[in-house]
């Protein structure tokens, strides 16, 4: 059953240089209990797509259009007050920046308890007890002690798990996890992915997993959407995508990334394998945005936008000249 349905999501930002096109008409849906990976190079619009759902973008400069429906309810036009009942409860977020996402002035227990008090109307005492359970759930040792500590007393990995504990506290229906494992050791990564799996299995939480780590995608995701320069260029079940990539960009991504080691130290992915650069985000030409880096590009790639088209079971690719089976 479709839980979240995004149609033609377009997000721009007013800046001093002009309108930045961050997301250009992305459509996707998410079923209950599904784990959907959102992958692509740094700056391709993954985070902006994710943050559009609970509308956590700067209100003054953001230009957002399209439709985002949760359980059939349109979120884009929802007044702030209504959306606040959705945030943290139906839709919650694990942010990309574990070091700065927690408030330095409040204890871990306060910051977890706050969301429980807000949505579940718990007392401080009950919220605290639940916070201890949540810390244990995300694999933090000695949670009774940690609960009274401040963020600066925790390592980056532990902070990230506290952010995850906050996000899962109210058993959200949709969890948007933005590079949730990038800052973590491999051993802890597996534990965090288990927390996500467990959440999905127990509560049917649907998860949008934003990651550049195709290993993580293969490990946990059911389906993946590949984004390039603000557009979704390919979308398929994970097994199908890895077996038969259709878009030349997806293939490049896979070749560029045998391991997470290809990502920069900050966890942001820059593609060295595919020559050329991301097109400017300031213009929005009617062309395939990948054409100048694409070995298969022909004249029409420069004059028309390829739409997502079926190219296999549950498989969509936006390319005029998709790769054939076995062409990799």
């Amino acid at each position: 059953m479709t839980l979240l349905e995004i149609k033609d999501l377009t997000v721009g930002f007013d800046t001093e240089d002009g309108l930045v096109h961050a997301v250009r008409g992305v459509s996707l849906d998410l079923a209950e209990g599904e784990i959907l990976a959102l992958c692509g190079e740094s700056g391709c619009g993954k985070s902006v797509t994710g943050m559009s759902i609970p509308r956590l973008l700067p209100p003054d400069s953001t230009r957002l259009s399209g439709s985002i429906r949760l359980d059939g309810r349109e979120l884009t036009g929802l007044p702030e007050a209504e959306l606040r009942r959705v945030r943290g409860k139906d839709v919650s977020v694990v942010f990309q920046e574990p070091m700065t996402s927690l408030n330095p002035s409040f204890t871990v227990g306060y910051q977890i308890g706050e969301v429980l008090r807000r949505h579940e109307k718990l007392s401080w005492k009950a919220a605290r007890a639940r916070a201890v359970d949540l810390l244990r759930l995300v694999g933090i040792p000695a949670p009774e002690r940690r609960i009274n500590e401040y963020p600066h007393q925790l390592s980056g990995g532990m902070r990230q798990r506290v952010v995850i504990a906050i996000a899962v506290a109210c058993s959200p229906r949709v969890l948007i996890a933005d590079e949730p494992t990038t800052a973590l050791d491999v051993t802890i990564q597996a534990g965090v992915l288990d927390v996500f799996r467990d959440l999905r299995d127990r509560l049917g939480t649907a998860i949008i997993l934003i990651t550049h780590d195709l290993g993580v995608v293969a490990d946990i995701a059911d389906r993946a959407v590949v984004m390039y320069a603000g557009r979704a260029v390919e979308q398929a079940p994970v097994g199908e995508l890895f077996a038969r990539p259709r878009h030349p960009y997806t293939l490049g991504l896979m070749k560029a990334l045998p391991t997470a080691a290809a990502a920069g130290a900050d966890g942001r992915l820059r593609l060295a394998e595919i020559p050329g650069m991301l097109p400017s985000s300031l213009s929005d030409p009617a062309a395939c945005l990948f054409h100048d880096r694409c070995p298969r590009a022909k004249d029409d790639c420069v004059t028309a936008v390829p739409e997502l088209a079926a190219s296999g079971p549950g498989h969509l690719a936006a390319c005029f000249y998709p790769l054939e089976d076995g062409s990799r």
Partner: protein
Amino acid sequence: MIWFVLRRAGSALIVMFVASVLIFLGIRALPGDPAVVMAGEEATPAVVAAIREEYGLDRPLPAQYVTYVGQTLTGNLGRSTQDGLPVSEILLQRLPVTLELAALAMLVAIVIGVLAGIIAAVRRGRLPDYLATGFGLAGLSIPHFWLGLLGILLFAVTLRWLPASGYVPFSEDPGGNLLRMLMPSLVLGAGFAAVLMRQTRSAMLGALSSDYVRTARSKGLPESAVVGVHALRNSLTTVVTVLGLQLGALISGAVVTEQIFVIPGFGKLTVDAVLTRNYPVIQAVVLVTVAGYVLVNLLVDIAYAFLNPRVRLSGGTDG
């Protein structure tokens, strides 16, 4: 936290020691006989002799210093050369007046400055922001005496809403006291309100665009909690620091304000004492000012540590 407070208190004591030595030496370094200096130029030889006897002024300096500290600690600060009253009595009379003025001015500054700063940050780039920053700039650039004279002209002379000057103790007539203190505390507080507004605004702007505020929003918290709890809590450290830094300006501002509004406070006492070369009073005034400064800085440090868990838990940033 205990160690932090003890360490800070220790350095405060050292500052006080150095200050007391300087004050002690200062009056003795003046040209002429220190006994005459302390007794006043018109004093009779008998009075001068009595002073010399009381302070042991013919004994060696270290012995004199011990006497001086002992007398100071027991509240014997000498006698005013103007009227022969004990300086400690004069201080007890004048200090509360200035403390009230300073406290009211601080209250004005904190309420107006912090509120305006928050509003300006939340409504950044809109009318309230422009109003607040505009008034802030004015508050910073208008000197106390000019603002005071303007206030007297407008509210006392033209509109006749408020008394132009004068003072009644709070214990005698609370309403009259507050009415008379209203304009002076507004005048003295305006500059601080402006400084606080600017600092609060920029601290809040930083906090509001931070990741942890986004996290707070992602929890679905109402905007009042996002701004008033998450952003404000981290901006308060700035507010406290600014308050501490502005203390010197508060003292000098009080001196000017008391002159304008003819308030018989500590500032006016200082000016009068300097004009009449009333050295015992000057000596005491300097000592009390330094002590007040050190004390408030100590309190600011403790408040800062209290607000900042990083300092509170690790025992300080001063290494």
